[in-house]
Symmetry: C2
Subunit: 353 residues, 2 copies
């Protein structure tokens, strides 16, 4: 039997704090009985909730702190006020100290990224950490990155993202060589921003192992599931993600309006209810909750701040899988062999010239 | 009675050429009887179609040419082979020569933009033309620009877009001061790309007339209809648009799957059919067909290449409104008074210092 996965939770993070985190952890434990938890936060608030979940309580350790990062703290404020002592910091610090395998927080993204970067530091050869998430598609789902951490990424950063995103897709989908596309505004070589074109050249001419580079993909190819991994700079990635969320919400509103139009449409809805339930399930943002911070010496998962226990459990599930299937080792393996291959390619090029 | 609107059509543009353009024009004429048309293209192909639409024929002039820009021509190829003589060029040229008020083409975007820019030239003070379109929202629709012409726009270009987009919103919605938002990855002042932050500063400190600048908006605010005009650089704008289209298509697929699940869901669908028809109408991309090229000395409308007569008629309708409600004059008015105000502000600043 494999070792237990040790999960550190920022119990105070998110809009609802422990009242979502604790039941969320209880749900995650049902799914992954080989987990153990460390809950960081206000003991007075966490303990009564833990008492209601005796199974979770039996595999949890509670670490008390009074300090919590607020949802509207700026990253600099969060670092100034919350370093060394906030629930967010201590959850990350458990990963740093080797006491936990993964930290999960629903706290504010900027603060979490700043603290994770400050404490864990980036992997050798990686300049900037990025955020990756699962995007539901017509096939299964795709890994999309970066979703807002690397504004204005250069070509090298885009190639790093391809490497890290493909490691994540290997973990999630059990593929050996996930397909990777670069998000662009057309599929022709001549189009798009210079760093995107340059990254395409690098991926074509010197492809890292475990990557099946398939070229440029466009915005509408994401939902089609054309690539297992879609790579983009963080500004465009964040806008794409939020635009898709907005469009899904818009569609859901239209559907609701349409159904309430007449008595016949209401009856029709009742008859087709299982179908609509399936539809709602497919569009359920909770199921794909959990952004993975990639490029750090440790695994940190960001949950949506406004999620419910089921959504928080999905974020924990994401963290569990990243640990169980060795995300960091897979990233390291690809980066190292790629660096070695690049060096060999350069040496061979040098010898030939 | 106002003067007739003179519309030049590239009859050979798009995936289907005259077989969509001619019936599309006939539909548009029903909607706007005060239009007259110039159809440019292969007489042998156009004439039989015109014969089937005698009312359209009565208000149309046919200009023959053998040359047509192909859908896969690169802009440079199109200019080399199609300048002076292609149906696309001649339609634009009619606007240039004052023989038409607007040109509409379903031909390829890059070629159309290159020819329009080469022939019509940009408005004084505008460096790069951009593409604006209507985005269906939960309110009415919003003007979103740029959708792919201005890759990596600087702050000045973003402010120009705000000016031009608000002129378009005045034309379409009859507003005096449309609300304008800058697309960003957060609503805080400190976030996002430098040109976006700089444009925000310019719009706040020296707001052009006829603009109600409301700050940053995020991807999911577009579909909410938070701003009448959403301004973004072309790379992110194109990706946002295509991502939204992809998400809508994904939702439609899920819905279709859901409905075909069981006999009950099929019966439910039949009962609710008028409601579903309403839903389909709301999501119908044909209704918002028509990208407006802004920043040129003339009005040029780009229709989707794969559209049908109804969609092409919507593109003509867009062009008709832009002429009837004097888009160019409104843009000119705002640019001029803004330039004057900026100059006065600078002079006042200079005198004070």
């Amino acid at each position: 039997m494999p070792q237990k996965v040790r999960i550190a939770l920022d119990a105070m993070g998110g809009d609802h704090g422990p009242s979502v985190v604790v039941p969320g952890a209880a749900l995650a434990l049902e799914q992954h009985p080989d987990s153990i938890f460390m809950l960081v936060g206000d003991r007075a608030k966490i303990e009564p909730l833990l008492d209601a979940h005796p199974r979770l309580k039996a595999v949890s350790r509670l670490v008390h702190t009074d300090v919590a990062v607020r949802m509207d703290d700026k990253p600099s404020q969060a670092l100034r006020n919350g370093r060394w002592k906030s629930s967010m910091w201590l959850a990350i610090d458990a990963v740093k100290k080797g006491e936990a395998d993964v930290a999960v927080s629903a706290g504010n993204t900027g603060a979490l990224m700043a603290m994770a970067k400050f404490n864990l530091k980036t992997l050798p050869g990686i300049e900037r950490p990025v955020i990756a998430a699962l995007w539901p598609t017509l096939k299964r789902s795709s890994v999309v990155l970066d979703l807002g951490a690397s504004i204005g990424a250069d070509a090298e950063s885009l190639v790093d993202m391809a490497v890290m995103g493909s490691a994540m897709a290997r973990v999630l989908y059990g593929l050996d060589r996930p397909s990777v596309g670069l998000l662009n505004i057309g599929v022709e070589e001549v189009k798009g921003l210079e760093p995107v074109r340059e990254a395409a050249r690098m991926l074509r001419e010197n492809p890292p192992p475990h990557i099946d580079y398939i070229g440029f993909v466009e915005g509408d190819d994401i939902g089609r599931g054309k690539a297992d991994v879609v790579v983009t700079e963080g500004f465009a990635g964040n806008i794409a993600l939020k635009t898709a969320e907005g469009t899904a919400r818009q569609f859901a509103e239209y559907l609701k309006d349409a159904i309430s139009q007449s008595i016949w449409s209401k009856i029709g809805y009742l008859l087709a209810r299982p179908a609509f339930r399936m539809l709602r399930d497919k569009m359920d943002p909770r199921k794909s909750n959990g952004g993975v911070f990639l490029g750090l010496n440790g695994v940190v998962i960001k949950s949506h701040g406004g999620t419910d226990p089921e959504g928080f459990a999905a974020a924990i599930d994401m963290g569990f899988n990243m640990v169980r299937y060795e995300l960091l080792a897979k990233i390291g393996e690809t980066i190292h062999s790629h660096t070695r291959l690049s060096a060999e390619a350069r040496a061979a090029g040098g010898a030939a010239s």
